[in-house]
Symmetry: C2
Subunit: 159 residues, 2 copies
């Protein structure tokens, strides 16, 4: 079923679009099965490996974290499981990407505002007097924790 393994790691890298050390790394973490070896120890690969690695690379380009790629690859390999699972994973991931996108858009707005302020409000003055930098340095005056600071609301988990 599988062509016998004739590709060197370099050829596989060129055709899959991965780097050579990346392929070795994928093997190491078990995302690729251990390659067959030639007498001297060099790895050899077949078309099946090429397809699998290409799938991995594309998923990575879509931003799936390795563990999700692992699940996706396992899914594609298992004839008993169905395609809905892939869609679900992709949907989850899409949600995360959209969240990141929203955060980045907000970031862009704030940064653009920062640049504009720098240009209009204190253009060229001494940095120490820069009102923009000063504002950035001003502590939050939100609802401070009471005298004995509540120890556990210290965190601000970044998404």
């Amino acid at each position: 079923m599988q062509h016998h393994p004739t590709l060197t790691i370099g050829t596989l890298a060129a055709r899959s679009g991965c780097n050579v050390p990346t392929i070795r790394y994928y093997e190491e973490i078990g995302l690729l099965a251990p390659a067959t070896r030639r007498a001297g120890g060099h790895r050899t690969f077949g078309e099946r490996d090429l397809r699998r690695l290409t799938l991995i690379r594309r998923c990575r380009e879509l931003g799936f974290p390795i563990e999700r790629v692992r699940a996706l690859v396992a899914l594609a390999d298992d004839p008993k499981r169905d395609c809905f699972e892939a869609r679900e994973m992709a949907e989850t991931h899409l949600g995360e990407v959209r969240a990141k996108l929203a955060a980045l858009r907000t970031l862009e707005r704030n940064l653009a505002r920062f640049v504009r302020s720098c240009a209009t409000e204190c253009a060229g003055g001494r940095a120490a007097d820069c009102t923009v930098l000063e504002d950035l340095a001003a502590p939050d005056k939100g609802p401070l924790p009471p005298r004995k600071p509540a120890a556990r609301l210290r965190r601000r988990a970044r998404p």
Copy 2:
């Protein structure tokens, strides 16, 4: 000039919005000056530290990498330098953010397409037959290297 240092690291964390270990980390990498210590070895901080740390946190939230934050903080501290430098750094950074944003938007489109295809083209079939996954696994058939593969065009530097 500086209030004497009365804040514990925990209080500073709560007020600056950083985690306690993060503060110690910032001290370690020299982003914050070494804190004064009490007899037992505990760190103490003053209002100046709070302002500085708040500035750092805000810059981090704006996505500036640490080294840029370091430059920004140094700038805000040095009365001899001017605000233009801050603006330039922010502009550079803004460009990078916009590039990321563009990449992420493309990603979102592709991912959404993936989800749609999964829903319409092979909804519920066996994952092994999923045309979407199959397409993802199909090797590029771009201009393959000639018979004797040109060894050095192996790389595809990801930006």
